[in-house]
């Protein structure tokens, strides 16, 4: 365990990613404690620049504190990102493992489904889904999970397919181990690496997707996320750059941190690969 941690943290980019992400998580968790008034409270005149008294990040089009909005926005992004990814991973591992291990018709069916999701424009489908389910936090999470699970299933299926043919799995079958103990005890621990790496990338992607939805007005109308902060400030963009630039930077830093963590995990878990 510690060898892995050493390898991971030895890369400066992975270290930076981890630190940045940790900071964002802390901010997100601390937000309601530090800013008890919440992000919707109007604190002053609209469009005050950053540096104005009590407004380190300025105020938005309605006169709300940008800093508070950014902190609360982190909560939404992280919540949607993590929950939808967990859902996608859960579904993807389930279907991918069964298809990869048992093969046959089930596998053919899964392959057709994943190919279908690769071909169709999934963002448009997501828009349709969220619009029809009425925009909310739940519909965003469900929608994103539904369009992302096929790619996880594909990866898991590939891993199971190749691991199934490995001799140590055949040895387990010959020893009389049951299918269940082979799937969970022998194959899954060896298939974890790509799943872990892909998860962090997926959280990042989910955050980008959620912000795009909110930007288009398909986010939860009762919650303030970075995406709808940007969407709501479009008219003010030309005169008050901070209303759009700052939330965007937040998104970028969060997703970048997650991608760097993913890259670091990849290198740390596959030490044989040399860049």
């Amino acid at each position: 365990m510690t060898a892995f941690a050493r390898r991971f943290f030895s890369r400066p980019t992975a270290l930076f990613g981890f630190a940045a992400f940790a900071a964002i998580v802390v901010i997100a968790l601390a937000a309601p404690l530090v800013f008890a008034a919440g992000p919707f409270t109007i604190v002053g005149m609209p469009l005050l620049p950053p540096g104005s008294p009590g407004l380190p990040a300025g105020s938005d089009v309605l006169g709300r504190n940008m800093m508070v909005g950014l902190a609360f926005g982190a909560r939404i992004s992280l919540l949607v990102g993590v929950t939808s990814t967990l859902g996608a991973i859960g579904l993807g591992v389930l279907f991918g493992a069964v298809a990869g291990y048992y093969g046959g018709v089930v596998d053919d069916l899964l392959m057709r489904v994943t190919e279908f999701f690769q071909i169709i424009p999934t963002f448009v489908l997501l828009m349709v889904l969220v619009a029809f389910l009425e925009p909310s936090l739940a519909s965003a999470v469900i929608g994103i999970a539904l369009i992302s699970w096929p790619q996880v299933a594909r990866v898991v299926r590939g891993e199971f397919l190749s691991l199934r043919e490995r001799e140590f799995v055949q040895a387990a079958r010959v020893s009389g181990l049951s299918d269940r103990s082979i799937i969970f005890g022998q194959i899954l621990p060896n298939a974890l690496t790509p799943i872990v790496v892909i998860s962090s990338m997926m959280v990042g992607n989910a955050i980008l997707t959620e912000s795009a939805l909110s930007f288009l007005g398909l986010g939860d109308p009762n919650l303030l996320s970075w995406g709808n902060m940007i969407g709501g400030s479009r008219s003010a963009m030309w005169v008050a750059w901070w209303t759009t630039v700052l939330p965007g930077l937040c998104i970028m830093v969060t997703v970048l941190a997650l991608n760097l963590i993913g890259d670091g995990l990849n290198d740390a878990l596959n030490p044989r690969r040399r860049r």
């Binding site: 053919d108 001799e167 055949q170 040895a171 020893s175 009389g176 181990l177």
Partner: protein
């Protein structure tokens, strides 16, 4: 003056490798019109030495000392452009796996023509004509359509002939062949080696041949150099080195090569334990929507196996020998036939009856690097099977320690992970795992093919000892007739899913009945000298 003089050559590995120098202070002469072999096991540095002569070392690996004189000029000091001009024209090289060594998306004729046009200013069509001529000289038929074929459409032997044709198209003075037959079938191997010998004689060319097989050395080499851990331990004329090897490693290497002679005592007589009848297995290619093509991997196979005896299944790739092993042990479901173990049929048994039967028949696998779960300790690997059959964990662990001692490993091993062990050690662990279930039948599927020759001999001896001690019935799958002779009482030769011939080992070797068996025996490297 010799054509090539390698003087004090050293090649360094990138930092973090298990040793600093891949090749250390190597001296070797290659004379004109002679075949020189470098022989050694994996990690000996033989391949990198050959690559150094072509200045084709991989990224991160570089020659750090010495010189390579080619007709007096030091190749290590040549400019990259000057070296490029030499490649293909003065010195040519062929590699181990011809499928990987040919560009998969370009037609074969064009690849040969590309070699010619690299150093001669002629048109594409002229080059293709010359290419066609070369291919014909290499013994390839139907050259016209061959020119337009892609590598994946050819057989392994054809591909290697294309590689050789390509290498020789500009009549280089030196041909470097890096394990050119290791990836080929036994019968094809013999043909390719014969081809190399023929063209060497015809063109009075020099050949540097890298191999791990002393049998190949015997057949091919005028001079031989033995390498180990990057150093040359012994070199000289082949007859001299073979006849009176001076270094202990050379002696060990020569002794480890199976001679193809059977010295086994016949097993004690007993009733058949395993009876296979009418075993058939077909594979269908294609999925949901397409028409499928069927391959008959096994066609009505029958065999018997007794306690205390080893039956060898010998065949080339595609013969069905591995499929047979997997059907007998029910890793694959046969389409027809019976596999009777003490009267009970494994082949068609349902899951419930099968599970208790599984204990009695176990397997040792081929690839030491994938036959052990990388994430489990050796102790867990050894006890997994017994525990699945209801044995108490502590008892199983105690037995596992004993089993490790039996295969020559210490009890310390239990806590470690597979990656900490060498190939030979992993095969021993695999054997211990199989024996933990106290089987009556042991199937060994090419258990030594992936091992170095010296390690191979040890593992074979271990298998034979275990068989005798535990009175096991052993089914031994191999492509190497020499190995079969070492360890098998009886031998069954397979080809294209059918049994060609079977009988006692000595009989088959002395009086092979079928032409195919004769060809297999004739193809054994070093047979002539024995």
């Amino acid at each position: 003056m010799p054509l090539v003089q390698i003087k004090n050559l050293s090649v360094a590995l990138p930092p973090g490798s298990d040793r600093a120098l891949a090749v250390e202070d190597v001296n070797l002469d290659i004379g004109r019109n002679q075949i020189v072999c470098i022989v050694g096991e994996s990690g000996s540095g033989k391949s990198l030495t050959a690559h150094a002569v072509m200045r084709l070392l991989p990224r991160g690996v570089a020659a750090t000392g010495g010189s390579i004189l080619f007709e007096g000029a030091d190749l290590l000091k040549e400019t990259p452009e000057a070296m490029r001009r030499r490649r293909g024209r003065d010195i040519a090289m062929i590699f181990q796996d011809p499928m990987a060594a040919l560009n998969p998306v370009v037609a074969v004729g064009r690849q040969v023509a590309e070699q010619i046009r690299a150093h001669r200013a002629i048109s594409e069509s002229q080059a293709l004509k010359q290419a066609a001529d070369m291919l014909g000289q290499m013994g390839l038929k139907d050259v016209g359509s061959l020119l337009k074929a892609y590598p994946h459409q050819l057989s392994g032997g054809q591909r290697q002939r294309v590689m050789i044709a390509m290498a020789l198209s500009l009549s280089p003075k030196l041909l470097i062949a890096d394990e050119p037959t290791t990836a080929l079938d036994v019968t094809t191997q013999a043909q390719i080696l014969k081809l190399i010998k023929r063209i060497q004689t015809e063109r009075e060319m020099s050949v540097l041949l890298i191999t791990h097989d002393f049998g190949v050395v015997t057949d091919m080499a005028d001079h031989v150099a033995v390498m180990r851990h990057g150093k040359v331990v012994e070199s000289g004329a082949t007859k001299a080195v073979l006849g009176s090897p001076s270094h202990s490693y050379t002696r060990a290497l020569i002794a480890a090569v199976p001679k193809g002679e059977s010295h086994l005592e016949p097993p004690p007589p007993s009733a058949p334990l395993v009876k296979v009848e009418g075993l058939t297995k077909r594979f269908r290619r294609g999925g949901l929507f397409f028409r499928t093509s069927t391959v008959t991997a096994l066609d009505d196979i029958a065999l018997t196996l007794r306690r205390g005896e080893t039956l060898g299944i010998v065949g080339e790739s595609g013969s069905g020998k591995s499929t047979l092993a997997r059907c007998v042990i029910r890793l694959l479901d046969p389409d027809a036939g019976q596999v009777l173990l003490d009267g009970q049929d494994i082949a068609q048994a349902k899951e419930k009856t099968l599970r208790p039967l599984r204990r009695r028949i176990q397997m040792v696998f081929q690839d030491p690097f994938s036959s052990l779960n990388p994430r489990q300790t050796i102790g867990d690997i050894l006890t997994a099977g017994p525990r699945a059959h209801g044995e108490d964990a502590r008892e199983a662990r105690a037995r596992a320690a004993d089993m490790l001692a039996l295969v020559g490993l210490s009890g310390e091993t239990m806590k470690r992970f597979p990656h900490e062990f060498s190939g030979g050690q992993r095969q021993r662990i695999g054997l211990a795992r199989a024996l933990m279930l106290k089987p009556d039948v042991l199937i060994a599927d090419e258990p030594v093919s992936a091992l170095d020759v010296t390690v191979q001999a040890q593992v074979l001896k271990l298998l034979d000892d275990v068989r005798r001690q535990m009175n096991l019935a052993m089914l031994f799958i191999t492509h190497d007739m020499r190995v079969a002779a070492e360890i098998c009482h009886r031998v069954m030769v397979m080809r294209h899913g059918r049994v060609v011939e079977s009988g006692p080992t000595r009989e088959i070797f002395a009086n092979p009945a079928s032409d195919y068996t004769k060809a297999l025996l004739a193809a054994i490297p070093g047979r002539q000298a024995l």
